[in-house]
Amino acid sequence: MIFLRKALSQGKRERQVVENMKRHIRLLCAACGSFESALEQNNRSLMHHVIDLEREGDSIRREIISKVHDGAFLPYIRPDLCKFVEVVDGVFDILEDTALFYLDATLPENIQDECVRVALLNQRICEMLLLTFEAMLKGEDLSEKTLAVRIYEKKVDDIKFGLFREVRQTPIDSFWEGKVLADFLSGLTTISDIIEDASDSLQIIHVAMK
């Protein structure tokens, strides 16, 4: 465990990478928070802000990857670190797509509350990912944190079935209207899956660096 703390704290490049990784996850939390608020208040400009945050996330990802390939960290751990960053970036991508689908879709009133609940859970699971990352930096045991991530993901899964069942009862005017709505719901309920993958990646890094 001492090795882990040492590996993550020594060297300027390593410190920069770690700081950027933290910034990347914090930004994702902010994006999930904006998404939830935008959905709850039906605020389209706030939803556009999610798209801006995705772009900012992209640039942080590039910085991290280039620093890692510039020689930060021992070679054997670099692929795992890059994979984690790419998975987090994947969440940004899905969040952006879902925000765009929302801007094009007409959300039926009967599923509005459940969608907000899922968005809130996405925000919570993201905060838990940040806590897991911070715990890893401190060399703490991650098991309780990763379990909490899985609990949140399961909650989203539980809502997902009801949501899709409910939406099937809703009359749809055209194919594209239905497609955009289905894509929105699919994106909304996939975010937690990908964050769970990110949390698993952290666990792998944690084990690999022991």
């Binding site: 509350d113 838990m128 806590l131 379990l147 909490a148 609990i151 949140y152 399961k154 009801g162």
Partner: protein, 128 residues
């Protein structure tokens, strides 16, 4: 807390209740008594197994209200998790309904309490 509360009218059969529970993948249904907006009962999988199936009664001829538990065990929406757990332990029930005034707004099961407690620990006691 689960906010999606499924209910069944009191004059529906136990079979109808079972069908609904299986279709919706849930373990309990609120039994609604018409004419009284605040009088509810609850029928659980436990009630179905012990009070109906085990006794071999006719599921289609027996009303859901005949095997439902009444009144509903309710706590206020502001009740703390620990107090909720204590109440459930004292009443020996696996789920407790959460009410806003006289309106049921959700149901908390033992698994909800367990996961909420684990999440609270993981968040450093910052309850979500």
């Amino acid at each position: 807390m689960t906010t999606r509360i499924e209910s069944i009218d009191c004059d529906k059969s136990v079979y109808d209740a079972i069908e609904k529970m299986v279709d919706r993948r849930i373990r309990s249904l609120v039994v609604v008594f018409p004419g009284n907006q605040t009088d509810y009962g609850v029928i659980t999988a436990r009630d179905v197994v012990f009070k109906a199936l085990a006794k071999g009664i006719d599921l289609k001829k027996t009303k859901a209200s005949d095997i439902a538990s009444r009144p509903l065990f309710c706590v206020d929406k502001n009740t703390e998790l620990d107090d909720m757990a204590k109440s459930m332990q004292e009443a020996d029930v696996a789920r407790i309904f959460v009410c806003d005034g006289e309106k049921i707004i959700g149901v908390v099961s033992l698994i909800d309490l367990m996961t909420a407690t684990l999440v609270r620990r993981a968040r450093g006691n910052d309850l979500s």
